[in-house]
Symmetry: D2
Subunit: 142 residues, 4 copies
């Protein structure tokens, strides 16, 4: 079975790097957060800011697993990738990656839950979001 993948290029910047001259690992997670935003904007066509600000839906991370297999250096262009591993009742499990050409740099599994931003309580994945994710999966599989 094919799996939809959303990809974006990113540049490793001076501000991502540490005194060892390579990406400081929390910066990968900031980059992946940006990829999730781009996926909401361009892959799901929902508008990330609209979901958060207008609909009052929060998307906090509840679990994260990462493997950092090779360092990335300032000035490199990398490819960030996102696939949906599981769409649960109240959670979305994403597979994330950072590659340069054939070399895998980072592989991550991130579980987001949907919450009511006012109360920080978890809520069922809203229909709007569920439908968009299902559409993304189907369309890419087609």
């Amino acid at each position: 079975m094919s799996r939809a993948v959303f990809e974006r290029e990113a540049l490793i910047r001076f501000s991502h790097c540490d005194p060892a001259g390579i990406v400081f690992f929390p910066q990968y997670l900031v980059m992946f957060n940006g990829l999730v935003e781009d996926w909401f904007d361009q892959g799901l066509c929902l508008g990330y800011a609209r979901v958060v600000r207008e609909l009052g839906i929060g998307l906090p991370t509840v679990a994260l697993q990462c493997e950092f297999s090779a360092p990335s250096h300032m000035g490199e262009r990398v490819t960030l990738g996102l696939a949906v591993q599981r769409l649960g009742g109240k959670s979305i499990t994403l597979q994330l990656s950072c590659r340069r050409a054939d070399e895998l740099r980072v592989k991550a599994t991130q579980v987001l839950v949907t919450t009511d931003l006012a109360s920080h309580q978890s809520i069922a994945v809203p229909a709007l979001l569920r439908t968009a994710i299902e559409g993304f999966q189907t369309e890419s599989a087609a």
Copy 2:
């Protein structure tokens, strides 16, 4: 007299914003740093990472003046602009801005000096960089 301006679009991301829902001001300076990198890469065609890593030239900021006139919110697309105000013997003074349509959000003057990365001592702006900046000024004026 016309002045060359290098511009890039940027998206205000979740990670730029603070609990007030607007850009946390140091993040503008991180964005401007990214703009300087893009200018080195695309405006001066020198390659920022190459200048820093291969040529061992540092570009620390020695002075900065900013005015933050209006807040930026998550999800907004802004235009970042850069112009060279002064090319000195050992320093480069940049005029930076962040606008959304007609609204000025941030205006900054930033003075960079060129240094030897090994010693952190200031050095004359290398010929390579001086020539590229003069070319950028002339070409845009043409």
Copy 3:
């Protein structure tokens, strides 16, 4: 005339430093922001989080002027200092510094305005805050 100064020690951490092995300058502004929080908590005894979260008062920066005179390296202990230069009707002008022993590393002037967090509109410096700042000035002068 003496001037009250609020000081705190800080450690230059790995996460503050860039590929040149020195503090990435926006990180000084994040450190100064932490100093302002500590000053609200311990110098003004108001509780920064309470002012922002419970009273709904925002403290955005509208102007900033910095001089970076010497680099700071990972592992150094520095002293961050804050003094009130001017308490205006709707603004507070702070003098900030980062020193190591006798060496000045950074000097900054930062203008904060008080705003209503709900509307992002500027408001007069609330009496609570004005009284606390005046007390801080007097007490330290005594």
Copy 4:
């Protein structure tokens, strides 16, 4: 068998928080990185900056597993904890936690490897570091 735990208090700052008013999760990893530095300085008495800068030893993270069980808000004081789960030939596995009173906020397992900073190649955990970690384990168990 008892296990040595190194703990430090931390304040949740404005700069750690996102537009939802809670800690942006990569900031926990920056805080944990600071805890590892404090452990090197105060728990192992080796000096983190000395290990990195003078001895040229890198400590990149190769694997990370986190559970974020409850949000942290600006102004809260939390306790960060570190224990050594495994001291391998070329790696150190840490158990990290962030708690507020009895409430667990974050639990993480982080695997660091020791590298030669010049080549970014992994090396055996240096004797200096191995001895210090074994001493930390024994002393705390006593």
